[in-house]
Symmetry: none
Subunit: 250 residues, 2 copies
DNA sequence: TGCTTATGAATGATTATGATTGATTTTGGA
DNA sequence: TCCAAAATCAATCATAATCATTCATAAGCA
């Protein structure tokens, strides 16, 4: 069976059953598990399905996905040290852009006593900033379900009305050659623009993002200062050839 | 059964029965008690249900936010009848503007199965729309603390990018001569603009708003259809000389 | 031939699961 | 009210399933 055929087959099956298990596909196609996994990866990158542990579901119809109110956070301690360091870079009177994301969210509690104006495209961040008494503007635009990030043309247009002293971005991967990347091209566009509107740009990414490459490129490594936590000395040296690296400590 | 499937299964079951016992889920899913417990924990962390001793219940939506709660607790039944009537005026395929406010908030649960695109300037409404799976755009702009409404130049500018089939506004007062009014001129400007961008405008206001006049004028009575609940026959006749009046029933 | 791409198998890591334990909460009777 | 039994709970552990990654081979193509 040709690769394309198999892809079609998987999508049809998924359409019928709404949910499929990897083992079922393996049995039906007589391809190896590895191959099916690869298939699912490319189909997921095309947004034609969403992978879940053990199989895949139709995109967007995954009702039991984490919602934006999800309290559980991974690598919380690491993220906190990064957030604390990042927040210390904010001066009184600054206009600050905070990207949607959990790490930037963590920053907010360290910003509470600063006299700043914040702009964000993150729904959860707006609330948190508001609760901490920080003046906040939201970009507006199309809300990307579940992640709570506003994206799209409207967001881009709104952003252009602002200039920032500092800008803090989250990413899904950073890599010496490929720079900063994230899965969604629309989000990447927003991040790229925000960075270009700021005097200083910082990328917040814990060590789990090191050497990772996602689908959509945001910008080169040198376009922002990287704030991270414990990474190997070797990697750090490689990175520092391209950009400034700051490391948070607990 | 995939983990994901089981989560959906539990949520569906809960939706139907309002209350579920862990043992029932165990019997139905043929997973172990431990697994189901774990499921419930993650679903609770996502605010998709609340655990109680022995099982789980639907999350108390209105119980969580004290500030919002106070407002929405008042005249809740009246507002609900208004919201229900208003929601029935929305057609599949419509683009809908929902003003920030508690009455418009109530509308959302009656919109859940409609295939619409929504635009709003209300922070709480964005979340609720999102949770009900409705595509939602937010205007963006400056967040007005406490009320959760976005206002200002940015909001105005964003709004101009849209056209609406229907538009639903909340007000603080309606009066035969003075029209619709609200305390904040900035909010009034947003409401006025939204209305002018819509083919059909509706104002949602329970009887406690009757004959009230606030500081900032939004527009004339005749510029929108008024949806309200029990008002005196006398008042209704006066109002109907100026505009269409619809009255919600419980 | 040389080059790229697709495949399958093997690996070690990660995640999900079920059973067990002892603690906590509820229930129902004295 | 109080107490004890029953039910439910969180925490832990070992096991099983699933995962990403790597490597070697096979297939397609100039």
């Amino acid at each position: 069976m040709l690769t394309n055929e198999r892809h079609e087959f998987i999508l049809n099956l998924l359409e019928q059953k709404q949910t499929i298990k990897i083992q079922d596909i393996v049995d039906l196609t007589e391809a190896s598990e590895s191959t099916i996994r690869r298939d699912l990866t490319v189909l997921e990158n095309r947004n034609q399905l969403e992978r879940v542990f053990g199989g895949a579901v139709l995109p967007g119809r995954n009702l039991s996905e984490p919602t934006i109110k999800d309290k559980s956070a991974r690598n919380l301690e690491e993220k906190d040290s990064i957030a604390k360091l990042a927040a210390s870079l904010v001066q009184d009177g600054d206009s600050v852009y905070l990207d949607a994301g959990t790490t930037t969210f963590q920053m907010i509690r360290y910003l509470r006593d600063k006299n700043i104006v914040a702009v964000t495209n993150g729904l959860t961040l707006v609330e948190e900033l508001n609760e901490h008494g920080i003046t906040v503007y939201l970009t507006g635009g199309l809300l990307k379900p579940r992640t709570g990030a506003f994206i799209g043309a409207q967001t881009i247009q709104s952003l252009k009305n602002y200039r920032f002293d500092v800008c803090f971005l989250g990413v899904n991967g950073f890599h010496p050659e490929m720079g900063y990347t994230t899965p969604d091209p629309e989000e990447a566009a927003v991040k790229r623009l925000a960075s270009s509107l700021a005097s200083e740009s910082y990328v917040l990414a814990d060590h789990s993002k090191a050497d990772k490459i996602s689908f959509a490129k945001i910008m080169e490594l040198g376009d922002a200062v990287l704030i991270t936590d414990s990474i190997s000395t070797e990697l750090r040296e490689t990175l520092e050839k391209k950009t400034t690296v700051k490391v948070g400590t607990r």
